[in-house]
């Protein structure tokens, strides 16, 4: 038994494009450090610390998906809704850095690529989708969790699209892009179901004990009575 490698390794994407995404991701991490300073309340700071730890642990649990493949949590949606989008970007980034440096999961030169698709795209993408659906759904627990489910589900194919974009810019293999696009979005459209289940269960558990700690709920002042 071996935990499969989860993230983009060195070599898939050319060095210049990897460097470009290191710069872009670095900029977003800078914004996240500034944003989190404003958003992160003293009382939820420990919860933000926990979010990164929980995401690290859950990423070790690859769940089987049809046809000999597996999927794992990204955690961007979970982090964004639980501790806020900017703190969420930082939490996922911490996980990716630990994995690349210590567990050889995700190449060192690919760190900017991985941070971009999972910390930036999945986390911020999920947050804006969540806010959008939260506004149009009923302002109750079911509406809240449905918005959580859709946002977390979509964050996975969005990440896959992000990788396809990176591959289009700097893929080192001579493969037609439509093949990569169809395969990436196809497989990750199934994996997203697992992301949605884990995210909804976790958010729902925290809502039940302390809804005031859930950033997505406190921000929108929704009534979460059943």
């Amino acid at each position: 038994m071996k935990i499969p490698t989860l993230h983009i390794p060195d070599g898939f994407i050319s060095a210049p494009v990897s460097l470009l995404f290191l710069v872009i991701s670095g900029f977003f991490v800078f914004l996240a450090l500034r944003g989190a300073k404003k958003q992160l309340d003293e009382k939820v700071a420990p919860l933000a610390g926990l979010a990164a730890v929980f995401i690290f642990a859950m990423q070790m649990i690859n769940f089987p998906v049809a046809a000999g493949t597996s999927g794992h949590l990204i955690g961007g949606a979970l982090a964004a809704i639980l501790i806020g989008p900017w703190a969420g970007v930082l939490a996922v980034t911490v996980v990716l850095i630990v994995q690349a440096l210590v567990f050889a999961d995700g190449g060192l030169t690919a760190i900017g690529l991985n941070v971009f698709i999972m910390s930036v795209l999945a986390t911020l993408g999920a947050w804006y989708l969540f806010r959008f659906f939260q506004k149009i759904f009923p302002k109750n627990r079911i509406g809240f969790l449905t918005a959580t489910a859709i946002a977390s589900y979509l964050s996975v194919p969005i990440s896959a699209l992000g990788f396809t974009f990176q591959f289009a810019l700097g893929g080192t293999a001579a493969i037609t892009l439509d093949k990569v696009l169809i395969a990436m979005v196809g497989v990750h459209s199934v994996i997203g179901i697992g992301e949605a289940i884990i995210t909804v269960l976790t958010i729902s558990a925290v809502l039940s004990v302390r809804k005031d700690l859930v950033f997505g709920a406190s921000k929108l002042k929704v009534s979460l009575v059943r």
Binding site: E42, L47, G49, F56, M58, M60, N62, S70, H188
Partner: protein, 95 residues
């Protein structure tokens, strides 16, 4: 329930998942690796510069028993992530 209590429960749950449940994780290639193999660009992957890390690929070097190897790797990963993330968020929280 106090925030402290929630964090304690979360940490214990994370340790449990990383130390024990991880052994039962699917060993199938994950979505990206699967696509890379199917579409045909898996061979462009290069070994990570940290590939000789004693914890590379979520296994502790020198432990034959896989349950022990992945479990200890999981515990170390959880503790390491905890030190960094709690440190970071303590530094940047609103005062």
């Amino acid at each position: 329930m106090s925030t402290k209590r929630i964090v304690q429960i979360g940490l214990v749950l994370s340790l449990f998942v990383a130390a024990f449940v991880s052994f039962y994780a699917s060993a199938n290639p994950d979505g990206l690796e699967f696509v890379a193999e199917q579409v045909g660009f898996l061979d462009t992957a290069k070994d990570s510069a940290t590939g000789s890390s004693p914890l590379a690929d979520y296994g502790l070097t020198g432990f034959e028993d896989e349950r022990l190897s992945v479990g200890i790797a999981g515990i170390i990963g959880v503790l390491l992530t905890a030190v960094i993330s709690f440190g970071l968020f303590t530094l940047i929280k609103k005062r």
